[in-house]
């Protein structure tokens, strides 16, 4: 669960640490952890790794990008030359040590080169989200005081020009794609290739300076600064040192036996820590090839052509792919559909076991092999997963069916838990110990502990240095001896030693009898059913849990059509007895699965109702990013909440709604409240928090 939106409690307005303090601060923490400043294999920086790779893997590809319909590639030796030329160009342009260089663009080799070139001259790369709004970009570039920016095309150039007036320090912009930019004022605007050309021309003038600056880089110098996207407050600049990035990359690469033969597709935002670790940290540590798609729209085609061996995607990507497969299978011929159904059923049964190397009967193995030839193989090829050796998903909870689908095909999909402040890795799932409901064991070199409130803390070599110009937040998040609070509540399973993340720590409460109440965990379980769009679970300070449910109009409407259930409105469908029956079954399924969980068996949903309207951002019930505002919902539907706990069978209510144009109206309805069967669990089961 890599979540950039952590510990954003309150923002203090920034600017506490003075500009010059950043290097002084960088040394904190390191020695307390007992880490020597001895770099792994003597490689103390990314530019040093680049030089090693150019020697060791000179003729192996370092980057590929599809352009003009062909995969263009650069070997490590060529990459070193390109980066050197750019670094010399940077010196020629006047980039100083300690300068921040903003990088704005989609995943292209040029931007990765720009990051390493910036590091080579002692500057600090700051990759930004290229689709960020102008004011967000202005804030970040103003906050770090970037003097230089390397951007992709006219769109970004325009955006930066728009905000330039607010940025006093800003000087030069370098762009890659010259299209449409010919007529612009080129005093402070440069073409990427020209900067490299100038760098090559000024080789003898600057090469000594470059070597000197490169030589000064050590394990404690800053490798990159990444801004966490804040949903509350302003973004914070997470400062990561070479130690952070190289140690995290080394440990994780060893964990999954990554070698120089891996192929990855770089398609996730460059501003995100995951991309920096996969496409820079691990790629430079191992020496493997980073492939860049032709455009954002061709990602799926390019994925298939490259066939990555190491792959990362958030759950939503896997979800969309699965839906596409299912829709196409609906349209397939009868024989194909029959084959798909029969063999997928078999795969579900034995696939994960075969993947984990557990004993499986010879007959089942033979059938699985046949299935591989007929169904799984072609399917994996279509998805672009034929060669995936290690795949990760993170960011949020993934539905067990989705997870199992990919694993049953023989794709080694695993979960990890991480955040920017940890240089990604906090926990990871080792091969053979993969489950959809845990996030694995502590990553190599990382210590993880749970405090008395159930919050997860960690420390390790990847722990960030500090938040740039934000001492207060740094203090709040990171202790003197290097422990970092994640803001998530979780616990370790006793028998397997795996961490399970339950909820955001601030949402976790206590029930009347003092047991832990984790609404998000239960809500996620409910939402894994396609028929349930949204769920809000109550129970903080109460004897039992109850829930509001929102049906998914598409899924339930579709189901109603197939079952000849007529309805005229959302409200009518939501209140239909057969819909309620269906939802009741889902709730009871969730209760059964919760009852098997010693930590959360008491969070079973005793009573529920299906809301007569969809929770809506216009009404302030959910955020624009579809996160439920628990407090608002509880207050607005107070009468319904009371009815859930006073035993009534139904309740009449009137709700105010806001239309998109801002007008207000009201709808009234009588809602039926259902009791859901709960599974009794013996109370004396021992519950461990650690």
């Amino acid at each position: 669960m890599i979540d950039d939106d952590r510990h954003l409690g309150t923002f203090d307005g920034g600017g506490i640490a003075g500009k010059g303090d950043r290097f002084a601060q960088a040394d904190k923490g390191g020695d307390i952890l007992g880490q020597s400043s001895q770099a792994a294999e003597g490689m103390a920086s990314v530019p040093a790794l680049l030089q090693r790779n150019a020697e060791r893997f000179g003729t192996r590809p370092a980057y590929r990008e599809k352009e003009f319909g062909i995969w263009q590639s650069w070997t490590w030796a060529e990459t070193e030359k390109e980066i050197e030329a750019l670094a010399l160009g940077f010196l020629n342009l006047g980039v100083d040590e300690g300068d921040f260089v903003a990088i704005i663009g989609r995943n292209r080799p040029y931007f990765y080169w720009a990051m390493v070139a910036a590091q080579s001259v002692g500057a600090i790369p700051v990759p930004l989200y290229q689709d960020a709004a102008a004011e967000e970009m202005a804030y970040v570039m103003g906050h770090c005081g970037a003097r230089f920016a390397v951007v992709e095309d006219q769109e970004q150039v325009d955006k930066v020009i728009e905000i330039q007036e607010e940025l006093h320090q800003f000087e030069h912009m370098i762009y890659v794609d010259p299209r449409g930019l010919r007529k612009y004022d080129h005093h402070k605007l440069h073409i990427f290739a020209d900067i490299q050309e100038q760098g090559r021309a000024a080789y003898w003038e600057f090469i000594e300076d470059l070597k000197e600056r490169r030589g000064k880089l050590d394990y404690d110098s800053i490798c990159v600064m990444l801004y966490t996207s804040g949903t509350t407050g302003k973004p914070k600049g997470v400062v990561l040192s070479n130690r952070n990035i190289i140690e995290a990359s080394r440990a994780s690469a060893e964990f999954d036996n990554l070698t120089e033969h891996e192929e990855v597709l770089a398609y996730l935002p460059m501003a995100w820590v995951g991309d920096f670790i996969f496409s820079v940290g691990q790629a430079y540590w191992c020496g493997f090839c980073v492939n860049c798609p032709e455009s954002a729209d061709t990602m799926q085609i390019d994925l298939r052509e490259i066939g990555p061996t190491y792959y990362f995607a958030p759950p939503r990507v896997f979800e969309t792919q699965l839906t596409n497969v299912m829709i196409r299978m609906e349209d397939a011929g009868r024989l194909k559909k029959w084959l798909f159904d029969v063999f997928m059923e078999h795969a579900r049964k034995v696939g994960p076991a075969i993947l984990d190397g557990k004993p499986v009967g010879a007959w089942d193995r033979a059938k699985y092999a046949l299935g591989h030839a007929l169904v799984y193989g072609p399917l994996k090829d279509t998805l672009g997963f034929s060669r995936v050796r290690v795949g990760y998903t993170a960011g949020e909870a993934i539905g067990p069916e989705i997870f199992d689908f990919y694993r049953s095909l023989g794709i080694n999909l695993k979960q990890l838990y991480g955040q920017t402040e940890a240089s990604v890795f906090i926990t990871v799932q080792p091969d053979g110990e993969v489950r959809s409901d845990t996030v694995g064991v502590p990553a190599p070199g990382v210590e993880v502990e749970i405090d008395e409130n159930g919050e997860v803390w960690y420390r390790g070599p990847g722990v960030f240095e500090y938040y740039y110009k934000n001492e207060e937040s740094t203090k709040k998040t990171k202790t003197e001896d290097g422990w970092v609070a994640t803001g998530d509540a979780g616990f370790f399973e006793e028998d397997s030693g795996h961490l399970r993340i339950i909820d955001r720590a601030k949402d976790v409460g206590k029930m009347a009898d003092g047991k832990m109440f984790a609404p998000k965990y239960v809500e996620n379980k409910l939402k894994f059913f396609p028929n349930i769009l949204e769920a809000v679970v109550f129970g903080d300070g109460r004897d039992a849990c109850t829930a509001f449910i929102n049906i998914d109009l598409n899924a339930v409407g579709n189901w109603a059509e197939r079952n000849n259930i007529g309805y005229a409105s959302y409200q009518e469908l939501a209140g239909h007895p057969r819909v309620l029956d269906m939802i009741q079954q889902h709730v009871e399924d969730v209760n059964r699965s919760l009852s098997e969980d010693p930590m959360l068996s008491h969070c079973q949903v005793h009573r529920f109702l299906v809301l007569h309207k969809e929770l809506d951002a216009d009404d302030g019930e959910i955020t624009r990013t579809r996160k439920v505002r628990r407090g608002v919902v509880a207050e607005k539907y107070g009468d319904l909440l009371t009815a859930l706990y006073d035993g009534s069978k139904e309740i009449s209510t009137t709700t105010e709604v806001t239309y998109e144009d801002g007008r207000k109206g009201s709808i009234s309805a009588t809602l039926e409240i259902r009791d859901a069967a709960v599974v009794d669990v013996a109370d004396d089961k021992k519950v461990a928090a650690e």
Partner: protein, 273 residues
């Protein structure tokens, strides 16, 4: 009105427009008793975006068809690159470097985008039948070269993701873009666009306008376009010819045309204030 000299002029945004590439002299076109174009003269200059506008039935498409050689005017002369053009078949005109798109998209529906755009390279293919069938020597080298320039256009118009998709499966807006790609593939000296924005929503129109401007800027292609949407025309073009009932009623920069009383009356409507 035509105060520019033979050397051309400089546009507001600083583009240099060259001399006359194509000139229509006193063109009259009749279909039986119907006079579609009545004694019209105008010129198109190197590197400019020239628009022909007018209400329905004004004769705009007929004019474009005269330029592309599809119709032969009964009266008048077409001068191209300083020479009077004799009566020609459309394919001969195309070989001279005049490419066009159509109001009602005319693509090969069953072929992929890539193949459709490759057909635009026809005038750059010279290998004989034998070489083509054996796929040796000149044929192979030519294909590689042509594919390369086609890929540049695909990249330019941002249609990489549909490179291998049959055109029949594409939505309207993308088909229009593919047609533009095919016309561009011919590396024309004059590009004729017949209502490039027809039937598009605002966003698609904006995209298309950007591509038209970029084509002109990047390749220096001279563009003559017919368009209904006044906003688009005024933003895009350097000079505008206004037609009504087969006659030319205005010719000049967008501002001149906008303030021309005849044009206001005929096309933009009489102001009621």
């Amino acid at each position: 009105m035509n105060e520019m000299n033979t050397e051309g002029y400089v546009t507001e945004d600083g583009r240099k427009i060259g001399g006359v590439v194509m000139e229509m002299r006193n063109i009259t076109l009749r279909f039986g008793g119907v006079v579609a174009i009545k004694d019209i003269s105008f010129d198109i200059r190197q590197g400019e975006i020239r628009a022909i506008i007018g209400p329905n039935g004004a004769g705009k498409s007929s004019m474009l068809n005269v330029i592309s050689g599809f119709y032969n005017p009964q009266v008048g002369e077409v001068w191209y690159k300083g020479e009077r053009r004799p009566q020609m078949k459309p394919y001969q005109v195309a070989r001279q470097g005049i490419a066009r798109t159509f109001q009602n998209i005319a693509l090969f529906e069953g072929m992929t985008v890539l193949d459709n755009v490759m057909t635009g390279r026809l005038r750059h293919m010279h290998a004989g039948l034998v070489a083509q069938s054996l796929w040796k020597g000149r044929a192979e080298a030519e294909e590689v070269k042509n594919r390369e320039s086609v890929e540049k256009i695909i990249d330019f118009l941002e249609i990489q993701h549909i490179r291998k998709t049959p055109v029949g499966r594409l939505p309207y807006g993308l088909k229009k873009r593919v047609e533009l790609a095919r016309a561009l593939a011919a590396e024309p000296s004059i590009l004729l666009l017949d209502e490039p924005m027809a039937g598009m929503n605002v966003e698609e129109k904006e995209d298309m306008s950007r591509f038209v401007l970029d084509v002109n800027d990047e390749f220096g292609t001279t563009i003559a376009l017919i368009e209904h949407d006044m906003g688009v025309v005024m933003d895009l073009s350097d000079r505008v010819v206004v037609m009504d009932y087969g006659k030319k009623i205005g010719d000049g920069s967008p501002d001149e045309v906008r303030n021309n009383q005849d044009v206001i009356d005929a096309y933009l409507g009489v102001a009621h204030d």
